[in-house]
Symmetry: C2
Subunit: 252 residues, 2 copies
DNA sequence: ACCTGAACACCGTTCAAGT
DNA sequence: ACCTGAACACCGTTCAAGT
């Protein structure tokens, strides 16, 4: 309410830095730094992103970066917003069609840049990109008669779902790689590991599932069907809610 | 299928270390180390967990820890499993009642130990505790006629939801604290920030929502109602699925 | 086989000058 | 006001001995 000063990271993400009056002009801007950092993360993963490597990439001394970013954490926060693509266009589609694509696109860009999954998000969305994603989801639900708070909750549940799925698929796909030392190398392995480790007395249901090779079907376990399954759970719930409201166009 | 050797972390989590034949007996075991590390994380947050601080806590040299843990990352992985409580007991309750409590309990222990949210999970669950949680969810759905794969997917969607919600609530509650420098200090701030930053042309729906003070209602925005809302979205979806299967006891 | 001290490598960040 | 080199602090991990 009280119009407090914006937190520094937020100000920077929106280009709201108080412009400096005199003295030499800056030789960089934040977006060049962020793009360089994103490029490094794409190529080498998040561990490749060091203040020194980013600085080298843009051709300045490491220290110069601290003119543009308060800390490495801030840099990561800004990267996380900038690395997302624009949300898909609505084009007048019914809410369910659109939100299906929206959620899928959300998951997909996380899988394209799995290092995004490693950046801890301690706040609700504040960056322009993330807020544009939220905005589009709200717009898609505009005709449904749902209240704003409900629509926000739905969008947040869907983002959460996209995140969870991306993390799961990524964890299964990559397996033993930089970072998680000697972990799991795909689904066959996973069932195998569970089989070796489970105590039927302690994990009866799982032991039965493993025995029944529920994890053996491997390839199709991770594919799109599972994603659609959970997503439709959520969207069915939304649809039921809309119906209960006696609301607008509950097309699908 | 091929009964590969267990990844070292997994072996350690399940106490499957190959016992050593002769020479001095170990002066520690993994669980003492892990408990110490958890204690530190509870008191000081995850940054307080250093190999040196953990070693000091158990009274050995830093280097000794590497007898029990391959790396700090491994230690974190083991901590993440050990820090979870046991899942709630089913007591013959109908699936919907139980899964509601299950998901809520899941969120709650994450909020009790928010440092768990910071530990990146690159794999599906492999620890005994996490697998017991999964097992109980499968058991609760046993009478519904759903297939194992479906039940696993449901459990995974629910854990994901618990995680997302915990992260959201935590991010909103703590605000400016160690780690996320000068970020958001609660919901009033959030609405305020959005108000300052949004461009109505670019974020029309959100701008309208902020204008209508959809974020101003503050206190109740984050409370239990929102959690229940999204959860019921999911559970309604599950219920619809069960009904479609023409399946068992869809009580709840 | 287990424990340990010293040493190394790496990296984020502070500081005091420079222009 | 912006850039920079040197230096500091911190911490995970390797190594070579010790028992």
């Amino acid at each position: 309410m009280t119009k407090r000063a914006l937190p520094p990271v937020v100000a920077r993400m929106w280009g709201r830095e108080t412009a400096s009056r005199h003295g030499p002009r800056p030789s960089l801007d934040l977006s060049r730094i962020v793009d360089a950092a994103i490029g490094i993360a794409d190529n080498e993963g998040l561990e490749g992103v060091r203040m020194s490597s980013v600085a080298a990439q843009v051709g300045v001394a490491t220290m110069s970066l601290y003119r543009y970013v308060g800390s490495k954490d801030e840099l990561l926060t800004v990267m996380a917003d900038a690395a997302a693509p624009e949300p898909p266009a609505i084009d007048g589609r019914p809410w369910r069609d659109y939100l299906t694509e929206w959620t899928r696109a959300n998951r997909d860009f996380l899988l394209d840049r799995p290092w995004l999954l490693q950046i801890p998000r301690n706040t609700p969305p504040v960056g322009p990109r993330a807020l544009r994603w939220l905005d589009r989801a709200l717009a898609a639900l505009a005709g449904t008669g749902l209240e704003v708070a409900e629509r926000i909750n739905i969008a947040s549940a869907l983002t959460g779902y996209a995140n969870t799925q991306a993390a799961l698929v990524h964890g299964m796909t990559v397996g033993a790689e930089a970072g998680g030392d000697g972990t799991i190398g795909g689904l066959a392995d996973y069932g195998d590991i569970l089989g070796q480790v489970l105590d039927p007395a302690d994990h009866p249901e799982l032991a039965a599932a493993v025995h029944a090779r529920a994890f053996g079907a491997a390839e199709e376990w991770i594919d799109d069907a599972d994603f659609a399954f959970g997503l439709n759970l959520l969207l069915d719930g939304v649809q039921a809610l809309i119906a209960r409201h006696g609301g607008g166009a509950a097309a699908g």
